[in-house]
Symmetry: C2
Subunit: 437 residues, 2 copies
Amino acid sequence: MRHHPARLIAKKRDGLALSREEIEDLIAGVVDGSLGDAQLGALLMAVCCNGMTAEETVALTLAMRDSGVVLRHEQVARPKIDKHSTGGVGDKVSLLLAPLVAAAGVAVPMVSGRGLGHTGGTIDKLQSLPGYRTDLSLARFGEVLERCGYAMLQPNERLAPADRRMYATRDISGTVESIPLITSSILSKKLAEGIDGLVMDVKCGRAAFLQEEHDAVQLMDALVATGGALGIPVHALVTDMDHPLGLAIGNALEVREVLRALDGDCPDDLREVTLALATEMLLLASAARDAAAARATLQRLWQDGIVRDVFRQNLELQGGDPGVLDDHELLGRAPYVLAVEAGRSGFVVDVDPLQLGQIVVDLGGGRRQPDDRIDPLVGIELCRVLGDEVRAGDVLAMVHAGTEREAHDAAARIAGAMPIGGERRQRGAWIKRRSGA
Amino acid sequence: MRHHPARLIAKKRDGLALSREEIEDLIAGVVDGSLGDAQLGALLMAVCCNGMTAEETVALTLAMRDSGVVLRHEQVARPKIDKHSTGGVGDKVSLLLAPLVAAAGVAVPMVSGRGLGHTGGTIDKLQSLPGYRTDLSLARFGEVLERCGYAMLQPNERLAPADRRMYATRDISGTVESIPLITSSILSKKLAEGIDGLVMDVKCGRAAFLQEEHDAVQLMDALVATGGALGIPVHALVTDMDHPLGLAIGNALEVREVLRALDGDCPDDLREVTLALATEMLLLASAARDAAAARATLQRLWQDGIVRDVFRQNLELQGGDPGVLDDHELLGRAPYVLAVEAGRSGFVVDVDPLQLGQIVVDLGGGRRQPDDRIDPLVGIELCRVLGDEVRAGDVLAMVHAGTEREAHDAAARIAGAMPIGGERRQRGAWIKRRSGA
């Protein structure tokens, strides 16, 4: 580093804005290690406490993006648009949306993460597909993208390596919750993918990283402004995470839900959120006249089985067994499957995604620590949703577990997460806000 | 740690107060390493940004004190009072004050630090005394204290070890400037010495850690309140560090000034600040009826050579050569000594302690990094002070250097730090504030 790290950190501590050159110097220190752990922790906390200006956030995002390779995919003529979600419970949208948007002629170069805590990760879900590889070389990533219109890659150390260290540090040091840090973390990685535009799904609710709509809108605005300043248009939706998305929670169970959705059998909320995000991607790519036209195109491609064909092509290119499309049982089954029954008659008055997500973690389907191994087969299938009328003894959900004991423990907890009451409650809007609206 | 560190750090990030038990847990993590560097950096920054309540500061100080051994000196019947300074340029008060107060019947168990940057350290000064050892065992420290009334110890890893790691981390991570962190750092170490009371010299001015009187008063108040809450009364003075204290800057040169002072030849500012601090120590020890009586006692002991005798006793007990008291030349001389002359006639309108301190560092007499070796013989002797009338060619100062080149370079810079002007300026008060006043 050219500057003395403590001096730059103290500047941020005192609430002053860092120059672009100072931010570049700090990120150089993150990458080459000359900024020590204690210094990085202090810097991140100073940003948490004092924020960053729009200009600082742009400079930080750019410096983080340029800390590694920035892909270009020059061989791919189509517009390249990606989607990113801030994470939730039951969020399997990417698996469905990537082939959907690719089928509509837009290239989707998608780098996704693993799950941590109650929040699932797209890469874990994909890896429950027999044979599917997400550890592609960057060259192969581009090839798969070119050949089938989308490609799925796990985090790669050559893309935005500064974020890797910063994210790991934030995770342990109480410095995750900061709009400029979240913005730069997301955008630096996404911009390194070589995209022309990005659609953001900012989850909001109990099981989301951001519980309050106010905070979600702040992040949405920061993402749109920062992307725009860097020449990459960003559309963003704030979507509900007060309830799980779809009916399956757990990696293989969620893939099973996606496979059924490709065949046309899709829960309403999953279908609506997927179509809404895909519509934004087509608009960003100028691949549709307007939202209505985009939606019509997407629905037709989905109904006609074109999306399923693109999914199959990708499956073959990334080493997966395409037979799974016709025989979902190839995904496997957890050894113990137990029904969770309603203890009384009435209405399902809550479906708590945070509790359900935590139960899946405790079943072994998620990680407490980044290095934990997971069991892809365990999880929960919801048979009832918020507002449904039930009678005592009706099946509320099915739990999939590794042991009988775990199945019973989880079943009791699932019943607690899906209380029955006397009054029918309705779920709020799935899509709460749209950027620019 | 019993709590998850990130959760506690996030609590402080959000401006909430940590409980005593949470603070104890964090400090346990500092000592056993289960709180990582990034976490410690983030925690310290969160405290810098959001502060701490008085209760938190007390709990932090206590947890840090109790991270190691707390001495008791039960064999020493006298009241045990120490003095601590926040550091400045030319501050050799401790060397004079310890035997002075000991001569008056108060025990002074003093653990001091090394210098860093332009700020000198008592331990470095003591180590320029031929043979003098500051690396005493804690048992020997107590013995010396018992036998001559004072003892001087370098930082010991068994006393407040939490502070050791926290201080090193603060130094590199831009988290030094925080009243609760400074307060707990100072008091935890001092309380571990086994004292009944503490006098604080809070330096204020250009070459002090705190430049603004407002900040110095804040620290003074926090020290007094925190010490009081822990049952150790603290008296504090805010003293001037807009100018060097005394005439010598540099380790052996400052010791030489102390030896002359023991013989009765002492610059006014050094005498006044030393007497004022010593008076507070006698009052804390109830060793004098009032300030006037304390001062009279101290002056008598000084004039009568009793203080010099106590200094000699300590010198013998800590391995030093007592011959130095009669032959100051045993301290040695730097190979190149050069006069700095006034370039014009007029008045000395400034004596910049920050520049002078930095020049001594550059001569090799101070440290840029904690592990730097220093040359005890180099430094500056001022021959003129602020407000003195001079004629062109008069000697302003003598520079003591290791090479001729360094002597010339330093001489030019010293002349710049002691500008001559047309108007006589007067130095402000040496003692700016007194706690409780």
